[in-house]
Symmetry: C2
Subunit: 479 residues, 2 copies
């Protein structure tokens, strides 16, 4: 028996697990195949039994293998068994009488109810967040800056926090100075102020479809018209369609989520991002880039941003820590390029300044490297959860169900049989205390009535499995 080769950098068990994962994905090991015993693995790789166990625990954690009592480990899952991708959106229109607003209100009303298995959220479960470490940073903040924590913060935001945000931009190739950054109350305020900075009531703005309902709802509030640009499940915004739309209509701004779009999960390839920035720069159209999921990538590298390619300041980059660390802190930011002065003025006029102590806290938390550390753990956890959720969907949903394959973020986008009205599905599932997000809330035009979004921010467990099973069974009944 020859010894497999290992090389230096990674932990041993990770290397071994990686080799096995590769074999499963290439179907060298197929579903149901028995894996080598721990003792054999230990002999073959010249490693301790402990390390061999670690490798299997890891793969088990990712949902790729399972242990059967008194028998050993078996392959449970393979990429090839992945369901088909959802089709490109078709502009179908449903005459259902419930408005999108009413649906959103219904679905997100009971956010804090603990008796509901909430698969409608696109947010991390609290178990995944570093509560104790954050609280240490709070105490550090009020001990080290006692008087400033109680007083008005700079309108533009805490200077130290802006420095940390500028530093993070380095990861996506941004050359950003602290003075380029404006701190906001979460990404939502960043988007709202950015829209106000570059449009007036009556203007037309391009968005993706499907997209996060918060984006078109704030536009309605600001009196803006919306053009929906078709978005591919893998490559994102259709740039040809966008260019045609620009030629036909007077588009005053675009609001896109280029990395891990919510709900599609798609991530525009770097070259598309670059082409998009060239297009909007040529036409002098501000691009509001919502990068709230950008740090939650599952691959080896952080995706670039449109802002990475922005040489003339037409991109207003928006992000926050709400999806990765502390939704309740309401800390976000924008790097608004040439619109900075307008943005600061708007912020001052609507709210004067942000909360001081949470900004101090975050500046400390980022400054000592805890955020980077936390993100590494969170990415692994989310990736594992996603795989588990997809398995659950395969196990319990009808065979014709199509599922997105996001390489980051929080959500799966499911295309169901055309017969399924997912708002009805939502209502039926709620009778069992299970909540999923019906597709129609992701468009202003009553599209996606047979789609649902399932968030996998909640760690896998019996309650989640029950939720997916119940939803799957309801779908089967409705077909």
């Amino acid at each position: 028996m020859h010894k497999n080769k290992l090389n230096g950098a990674d932990h041993l068990y990770l290397q071994i697990a990686g080799n096995l994962e590769q074999m499963i994905q290439n179907e060298i090991l197929k579903i149901g195949d028995k894996l080598p015993s721990v003792r054999m693995l230990s002999n073959e790789y010249g490693i301790s039994m402990g390390t061999a166990f670690q490798a299997y625990y890891y793969l088990e954690g990712k949902g790729l293998i399972e242990s059967r009592p008194k028998s050993g480990y078996y392959v449970r899952f393979s990429q090839k068994r992945y369901p088909a991708l959802p089709a490109a959106p078709k502009p179908e229109t449903l005459g259902d009488s419930v408005s999108v607003d009413e649906m959103v209100a219904a679905v997100f009303k009971k956010l804090s109810a603990t008796d509901i298995t909430n698969l409608a959220l696109a947010a991390p479960a609290v178990e995944l967040l570093p509560l104790a470490k954050l609280n240490k940073s709070i105490v550090h903040a009020f001990r080290n800056s006692p008087t400033s924590c109680i007083q008005y913060e700079d309108v533009q935001g805490n200077p130290e926090l802006r420095k940390q945000v500028a530093r993070m931009a380095f990861n996506w190739g941004g050359k950003i100075a602290d003075n380029d950054v404006v701190i906001t109350a979460g990404c939502m305020e960043a988007l709202s102020l950015s829209l106000q900075a570059v449009t007036r009531p009556g203007d037309t703005v391009a968005i993706e479809t499907p997209t996060f309902f918060g984006i078109f709802q704030v536009m309605q509030t600001l009196g803006l018209h919306v053009i929906e640009i078709p978005t591919d499940a893998v490559t994102g915004v259709d740039l040809n369609y966008l260019e045609q739309a620009i030629k036909k209509s007077k588009i005053k701004a675009c609001v896109f989520v280029p990395s891990f779009n919510n709900p599609l999960g798609c991530c525009m390839p770097d070259e598309n991002k670059k082409a998009l920035v060239e297009l909007i720069t040529k036409h002098r159209i501000p691009l509001i880039e919502d990068d709230i999921y950008g740090e939650l990538y599952f691959g080896h590298h952080r995706p670039r941003c449109c802002k990475t390619y922005d040489t003339e300041g037409w991109v207003l980059y928006c992000s926050s820590i709400s999806k990765s660390l502390a939704p309740g802190y309401r800390i976000g930011w924008t790097i608004p390029g040439r619109f900075k002065e307008q943005l600061i003025r708007l912020k001052m006029r609507h709210t004067i300044a942000g909360v001081t102590i949470t900004q101090h806290t975050m500046a400390h938390f980022l400054g000592i490297g805890r955020f980077d550390f936390h993100l590494k753990k969170l990415r692994t956890a989310l990736h594992t959860q996603q795989l588990r959720y997809v398995q659950g969907i395969l196990d319990h949903f009808p065979a014709d169900t199509k599922v997105s394959r996001p390489q980051g973020g929080f959500v799966l986008w499911l295309e169901l049989n055309k017969k399924v009205n997912t708002f009805q599905l939502y209502q039926e599932a709620m009778k069992y205390q299970v909540s999923v997000a019906p597709g129609r809330i992701f468009s202003m035009r009553n599209r996606y009535s047979n789609y649902i979004r399932i968030g996998y921010g909640r760690p896998w467990g019996d309650d989640v499995e029950r939720g997916i099973r119940i939803t799957g069974n309801l779908v089967k009944k409705m077909c």
Copy 2:
């Protein structure tokens, strides 16, 4: 010698000080009069020497008497020596080339600069705020609600905090339930959202003149037209003028500061508040009531609010803790009456929800009665500071200076000789690191160019005296 009578409730020294204060105000004791020696006072009232000293220290603290070495205590100040009140505003217009926006930006840019004696602010000095007690409430919040402090807060606001706000409303005769309250990011967001709830771009809104610049600046941002209603230095908004304006123009809302208006300091009498609510109710015009200074009264009772008299829900009451406790917490609220649903929806669309941990903290701080306790101390401190500042102005400003007599709040409004351009005065004073707020920033119409606002939130001391002396001398030079 007969003994003066004292009755039970108050501290002895306060009763004695109160008697003496009365005598000074009635000019029974005049400026320069020698007060009874401590021993005489002790004999006359049958009190200890210590209590007699306490009474004199208290009056000295209020600036009413002064001690002269080896001689005793003398009357220093009397109400009768108060300067004249500023005249009712005249609609004069100055062709000065600096815009109000530019002036506001200049005056409030260096908020956090510590080398400047800032008399332009309407905010409490940090020495007056209970830092340590607040920090205890923060720790209580994250220890007792560890997971909820990190997560999204209810859009409408923390339920316990809303309950406390509803309880506070009892002090001004409001019958408010926790479900009537919406928590906001300070009073400014409350005003901005209230305006958005009741107007559309192009509408006309009535405001006081002079008034806080933030009010008309957010209106400009929202595309609203403004009508300025003359406001009396003592009784507030001219109701007859308002009624005429309502008949002439299509007024869609009013935004008034009925208690301790900034910068005038006036407080509408209860009957005027009642009449105002009747007027706007009759015409179905929403009244946005900014009550941010309402708790900072110097008299025996908290002034009523317009909301007190609002039976049909046309008053959107707005307030915050920014002026009384913690500007940096950005906690305010609105009680929006019949516009509640719109308001909650707007809040969700612009910022999703408020910061969670600061709301938990405030709910605790209010719940255990610390806010009431703090307010009592703060009111006394502010009243004392106001008297000291007025003395300083009398000592150092020309004799024709007119000064407001606010019975609460933070600011004095000074009318100077017509020859004085107060934006120039501001610029001159800044050369000496002294900042005062020029009158023109309190109107959109270039009024009040010979007025200044002086905030007395900073405790009296050598730096403040220097600031007032320098400003006064500059005024003398400019006349």
